[in-house]
Symmetry: C2
Subunit: 375 residues, 2 copies
């Protein structure tokens, strides 16, 4: 039966930019592609557009599915569609894959026009600010002067926040979900273990594994297993897996024994089969570097002083990667600037991954906020 | 200047056991060595002995230092010595390296008498219960019928607890510090990522790396880096390292940038240079398997019904590996059995590692408890 709340079959589009992209690192990308998807219709005054920014491992495929791959459903499909919290009958929604990614936009698995070879490890380190720059160009390409809203969870929420700081006149509402104004030492530590797992994999070859016809599967698998632990809550893991044994009894060996081991290894393998290791490194680095207060002596209030947008900030009680406390820090700094902020701490057992889940309270809050946006 | 509260120069001793050790796995170790150290003097009635059980990566060298290696100070030197909380003027203290270890007791780096070759990956999986069995034999060898107290932190605390269940008439007081009655799914998950890091290292060779003249340094290093994150608290990492950059500015590359990265990689390298990978695997498995309630339909009260000892249970506020809640679960089950329990939740910022730290409140509590023990 047809799902009437799905945007249905979608197709990815691509746009090529020839204007050089000056990165924060001072490196320059001469030209690049961005792949994106859109759902709903841009209205006549072009006032109803929403940009969705993606997190570490996702991409531009935010909602709907592909005609030739109907199982490949967008990562925020429960949030976006006709009648859904971000309603495509009202809004024109844009999803984009960031540069450095591995799903179509220019990144390590793209050909470097300068050398005629894959970028691989030559792809420069990109930051949240760099991504926002490219997203502005995509907006220009689509004729969007100002987004009604920009939304994202986790690393995506950081991009939404960065828009409000770098292009305050180009976004009216910002939805920052399960995010943080900066990573802690512990966050960075987890990222570094993941990076070291990849970079010390003998199949990494300094990032040039493609030219050796291998991929650092072991390292990427470990990185994902570790990441996954930090996305889930202690409670949800306990509830879902507990100490259940796969074969009912202890095996006194090192094969899979507990269900949680089976789950994590499976998730790790699946991810390592489809994601690019250099992209993983770049994404974690963008997370580590994000720190808008850094140029203001650590004063987040000052950093936010240029913002003009209205904000919805959401956090989840069991998120220990970016705890509610981090969202509160953002909210306080926004309030210190007399900005219009809605905030909610949502009771959820799913940890950091809650932002991807279909939770009634969460979705009602987003729906109410989005309904209230004038277009 | 001489430290009058140190036990001073110590020497390790070794004892060989020819009576086969029947393991929980049903494997049998025909004969084995235990290395141990003792501090203080056993009194005439042999009523003043204390057994110290070690955690994942430590060993029998609990206090003092070696004449030929004065920098090698015992891991609980701040706790044990003349005038210290566990006072060697009153008590005779025994530290032992568990079988499966890599510091002298029979383990993967020992010669298997049956084959004439290193055990390596042939060394059987050992459990907390197995270790307690061997510790009983050591007690017999030393002529100790009953320990005044058995103490340990983390995995060491689990051994102390197991004594009270398996040999209730051979221990009067049990000190269970920063421990848990069982691991959660999240704990097991972290252990499994560590194991997978080791076992997928190409230099692991299915555990027989020694015969290939290599060690799985990469995997062991990652395992330790990851472990280290879980030993520290988010707060202590933030306080010690924050977002400090090693060279003052972002490098836009993948070398060490943040101080926390430098610290973790250093800790990982140091550990991988000196610890055995197979032992690491065994120790994590012993942790995963520990679950005294398992044979009693998950009822910890029933599991503890045979215990007779008095208990001191201590937890630390910022320990997220084995949180205070886990200690409270132990305390409740002990109280349900009308046992004499002292419990304290100690305010400390050092996370799980707090049990190794010299904290005034912590040490005063242990001192008070130990002073009160009649010998």
């Amino acid at each position: 039966m047809q799902d009437l709340t799905s945007v249905g079959i979608v197709t990815s589009k691509s746009v090529h930019f020839d204007t050089p992209l000056h990165l924060k690192s001072s490196a320059i990308i001469d030209s690049y592609e961005l792949v994106y998807e859109t759902y709903g219709e841009l209205n006549a005054t072009k006032s109803n557009s929403i940009l969705i920014c993606h997190a570490l491992s996702s991409n531009h495929h935010v909602a709907g599915f592909y005609a030739d791959d109907p199982q490949n459903i967008g990562w925020w499909n429960n949030m976006i569609g006709p009648g859904k919290p971000i309603d495509t009958r009202k809004f024109f929604v844009v999803g984009v894959n960031n540069v450095g990614g591995c799903h179509g936009s220019t990144g390590p698995v793209s050909i470097n026009a300068k050398t005629g070879r894959l970028y691989g490890s030559d792809f420069p380190v990109v930051t949240v600010q760099d991504w926002v720059k490219t997203q502005v160009r995509l907006a220009d390409h689509l004729g969007i002067k100002q987004f009604a809203a920009i939304a994202g969870g986790s690393l995506g929420g950081m991009q939404a926040l960065q828009w409000a700081l770098d292009y305050p006149d180009r976004v009216r509402h910002v939805l920052v979900i399960a995010a943080s104004a900066k990573l802690t030492a512990q966050n960075i530590a987890f990222n570094d273990v993941a990076r070291q797992a990849i970079m010390t994999d003998p199949d990494f070859y300094g990032g040039d594994y493609c030219s050796h016809d291998v991929v650092p599967h072991r390292g990427l698998r470990l990185a994902r297993m570790l990441g996954h632990i930090t996305y889930l809550s202690d409670d949800s893991m306990a509830e879902k897996f507990g100490r259940e044994l796969r074969n009912g009894a202890l095996g006194f060996g090192f094969d899979v024994e507990f269900e949680i081991e089976s789950y994590l290894r499976y998730q790790g393998d699946k991810f390592a089969d489809q994601f690019d290791a250099n992209t993983y490194l770049l994404m974690t680095k963008a997370l580590d570097y994000f720190d808008p207060a850094h140029d203001y002596d650590g004063d987040l209030k000052k950093a936010f002083s240029v913002a003009q947008a209205n904000f919805l900030v959401l956090s989840f009680t069991t998120d220990w990667r970016f705890s509610p406390e981090r969202s509160r820090t953002i909210v306080k700094a926004l309030l210190d600037n007399e900005l219009n902020v809605s905030y909610a701490e949502i009771t959820s057992s799913y940890g950091h991954d809650s932002f991807l889940m279909e939770d009634r309270h969460y979705h009602e809050l987003v729906r109410a906020y989005m309904n209230n946006i004038n277009i």
